[in-house]
Amino acid sequence: MTAIPPPMSLLAEVTHRCPLQCPYCSNPLRLDPRTDELSTADWLRVLDEAAAMGVLQVHFSGGEPMARPDLPDLVRHAVSLGLYTNLITSGVLLNAKSLKALTDAGLDHVQLSFQDADTAEAERIGGMAGAQAKKLEAARLIKEDGLPLTLNFVIHRQNAARVPAMLNMAERLGARRVEIAHTQYYGWGLLNRDALLPSRAQLEETEHTVAAARARFGTRLAIDFVTPDYYADQPKPCMGGWGQRFLNIAPTGKVLPCHAAESIPGLTFPTVRESSLQDIWQNAPLFTLYRGTDWMPDPCRSCAFKEQDWGGCRCQALALTGDASATDPVCNQAPGHGVIKQAIANRPAVPPAFRYRRYGNGEITNGT
């Protein structure tokens, strides 16, 4: 008997190392170094605990999860526990041999990210020359093997015009799903917001393109569209509610309700090195703090939507208002909503240079 329903999914960020340097990367600004990463034995134990508590799916992510040579062992172990295994990869380390090791281990699905449909732009955004050819080859190998493939594109002002080309690319590469996901603005995305935030017109164009493609593809190719919440009236239900559906484990073993939660000050972050996953999920203050609706301030407290969006994203509230327990400023009822309007109004006509995601690059304070 458990008081709190168990999580459905585990996001296992096995490393922050990555050959790419996307300026919207969802990793924290302070990246964990390799020397602090959990060992193979730690991860195997964590997978045992996750399966026992009721996790159904494990998403192996990073950084680039294929940078860890023990990834096939982790996948094999997860499969033996009945967990559904998903690999979230940039594809640049994927070749026939490394893919075979993963499929032999029983991998269920691959989500492969592309930075753009245009090669030169993709490689400029990702900060890695030669990446596109490697990704295209990765897609071909995955398809040839027969593994289901999802393509992921993160959308922003510098690639939004090529959403039609991205959708064509997904069709051509034989993907079963494609994610057209507008950038979320925390961490690196927030640091690069002026370089990334699209105009409302750009956003609407992507919406129209996606609607038309959905009609064209029918059930052949599913499109998952994620809007940038800066242009919404209401926030998204971040992670399906704090501590309700997802567990996130950072490379060093910290257990978080979402991948950005480390930015919240004044909290102790529980780690699998010290406690069991079950104990952390049920009892750690980090998880109980914003779980449910009791913590909510007004206007959320008295709002009819509070169990739909759970008051939005805590990390976005923190980043934009300085208070993690504020209503997500994306909400048009939030006292802090002015900062969103301001960010849109102050959007420069010409995007500034990217601040690339690199070790050490996130620690400079934003001067503007």
């Binding site: 989500q111 593809f217 998952d224």
Partner: protein, 97 residues
């Protein structure tokens, strides 16, 4: 132009698409369909049908098997089977063999 999918018949043979499966969750005591990026609940009747999908049986045979277990008329049952499997094929969970 939305592509409309062909209805299934009693002769249709289905299997789970690669990367999808039916799984019983002992913690929640519920059947789930495991699929790329998410697991969704299979209600008890869907779970009964899906347990009989093996890449060999026709949907007619699946219906006959279910008839041994449930006290519905064959007409009702066959309608449910054809309808539910078509929906799951549209969601890329099942595919025609």
């Amino acid at each position: 132009m939305t592509e409309t999918s062909e209805p299934f018949s009693e002769e249709t043979v289905l299997r789970f698409a690669r990367g999808t499966r039916l799984q019983y969750d002992r913690v929640r005591e519920q059947w789930f369909i495991q699929a790329p990026e998410r697991a969704f609940i299979a209600d008890p009747s869907a779970a009964e049908i899906l347990q009989l999908i093996d890449g060999k049986r026709t949907l007619g045979t699946v219906t006959d098997k279910l008839l041994q277990k449930f006290s519905a008329t064959r007409d009702v049952l066959v309608h449910d089977v054809l309808h539910m499997t078509r929906e799951l094929a549209d969601k890329q969970v099942l595919q025609v063999v």
